[in-house]
């Protein structure tokens, strides 16, 4: 009898141990069972759209996700349409989005953009991204100095194409206009393709873009790079001066991109995506992708990203104020 009891105890203890040992690995673990949505705030062909589709392709190819991931374009109001969409998916573990600096800047500049990045769930920072100042290949401007001089001679006659008013390209424009006492027009195009068409067709004179958007057009001799925005020259553009080297002392900020989720994402869900991102950025395909597109890989975990967003927001708020833009938050 005693032996039996003992045995039962032992069995019970073993079972309890097994449950205790297993539960963190299985019971509480989240694994998606429905297709994931990856929300992008740009139209087809914009920098985010390309990044999102590349990320999906790399995840698919390496079979990192048990379910399909589908890119969903929610252009409109800069990032606001996409962020309100995420806001409406509160707690949903199957929806993710790609954020960029615009998601942080929109609420700073616009009263109506009420959703701040940390109101949602930052999942990971992925990259920093340099930018290029470009013109059409047959443009008369050989340097950024030429362009600024022309803008001085003919105020409001030259045009720049870009994203919305909170985009990095518009803030750089405001900074440059403020620093040089010039002014030129800014035409906003929600999709990257239209921005580029406007430059290629000669409808605008200058465009600040991400290298990933235009590598082929630069190689094909359709557009020319005047300057690059970043601390030091990119290996692929060794002959192109940075803004400072071109003689413009404008304090720039690095565009960042990352992944986020809707508000109130459960901790185990965040943990799952943290792991997914860690696997993603360890892929050789990721390294190759980052290199080809001249990005700087800068992965951060969810908790670190949340802290980063706070610092980043402060930094940009100062820059916006210096550029004379009206900051509402």
């Amino acid at each position: 009898m005693k032996r039996q009891l003992n045995r039962r105890h032992l069995l019970g203890a073993a079972a309890a141990l097994a449950i205790a040992g297993v539960s963190p690995a299985f019971a509480a673990d989240f694994v998606p069972t429905r297709p994931l949505e990856l929300v992008v705030h740009g139209g087809p062909g914009s920098g985010n759209d390309l990044l999102a589709r590349a990320v999906v392709a790399m995840i698919d190819q390496a079979k990192l996700s048990p379910v399909r991931i589908q890119v969903v374009n929610k252009p409109g109001g800069g990032s606001t349409n996409a962020s309100s969409y995420l806001l409406s998916k509160k707690g949903d573990p199957n929806t993710l989005g790609i954020f960029t600096s615009v998601w942080i800047i929109d609420p700073l500049l616009q009263e109506a953009a009420t959703t701040r990045l940390n109101d949602l769930t930052p999942v990971a920072r992925l990259i920093f991204e340099p930018a290029l100042v470009t013109v059409r290949a047959d443009s008369p401007f050989q340097s950024l100095g030429d362009f600024i001089a022309a803008a001085k001679a003919k105020p409001d006659q030259l045009k720049q194409s870009g994203g919305n008013a909170s985009s990095r390209e518009n803030i750089l424009r405001q900074q440059l206009m403020g620093a040089t006492g010039t002014s030129w027009a800014f035409v906003s195009f929600p999709s990257g393709g239209e921005r580029l068409s406007a430059l290629l067709g000669g409808h605008v004179d200058i465009m600040i873009l991400d290298p990933s958007e235009a590598t082929e057009l630069i190689r094909g001799g359709k557009i020319r790079v005047l300057a690059q925005i970043g601390e030091k020259r990119l290996p692929a553009f060794k002959d192109v001066p940075t803004l400072a080297e071109a003689g413009f002392n404008v304090e720039t900020f690095a565009q960042t991109r990352g992944i986020l989720g809707p508000p109130d994402m459960a901790p185990e869900v965040v943990a799952y995506y943290d792991k997914l991102v860690a696997k993603l950025v360890a892929l050789p395909a990721w390294q190759k992708y980052v290199e080809e597109n001249h990005f700087i890989s800068a992965p951060l975990s969810s908790a670190e990203t949340r802290k980063f967003v706070v610092d980043y927001e402060d930094q940009i708020r100062d820059l916006l104020k210096q550029a004379g833009m009206k900051v509402v938050r």
């Binding site: 297709p35 008013a165 027009a185 800014f186 035409v187």
Partner: protein
């Protein structure tokens, strides 16, 4: 008064005038024009104004014509058909909460059963079979074959 209320031009015209006025009033509350170009109020102000103008024109023209003296005979003939059309629409509207509660097949199947049984006046058994088959076929086609999501029940989750 009734002669005016019977005139669709007056009903539609005054309804659209109110909508046009609302659009104009809303768009004036947004930025219409600023330094970097037109704002969100610019375009609605233009078409809202156009709506107001044409809707008022339509209304006034119909008022001057004196409305409709007697109900048109074709309206009388259609009265029962009209109720059936409205019943169909109401049943479809009821499908939204039904699908929310019971999922696609039971929720929408029930609505189809009602439409086939009442509006198309089929025998009960026949209507039940057809409704089930349609709901089932749609479920198979959309949710299973094409992986296009269908409403899932808030109670039992599928």
């Amino acid at each position: 008064m009734l002669r005016y209320l019977r005139d669709p031009n007056i009903l539609f015209g005054s309804g659209l005038s109110v909508l046009g006025l609302y659009i104009v009033q809303q768009s004036l509350g947004w930025v219409v024009y600023e330094r970097d170009g037109p704002g969100p109020g610019f375009f609605p102000l233009i078409y809202g104004g156009a709506m107001l103008f044409f809707a008022l024109w339509l209304t006034l023209k119909a008022l001057r014509a004196g409305g409709v003296a007697a109900p048109r005979p074709e309206d009388e003939l259609n009265a029962s058909g009209r109720w059936e059309a409205i019943a169909t629409l109401v049943a479809l509207a009821a499908s939204v909460p039904l699908m929310w509660a019971f999922g696609f097949i039971p929720g929408f199947g029930l609505v189809l059963f009602f439409i086939i049984r009442v509006v198309f006046a089929r025998p009960t058994l026949n209507a039940a079979i057809v409704a089930t088959c349609i709901a089932g076929a749609l479920y198979l086609g959309f949710a299973e074959l094409l992986q296009s999501p269908l409403p899932a029940s808030a109670i039992w989750g599928f």
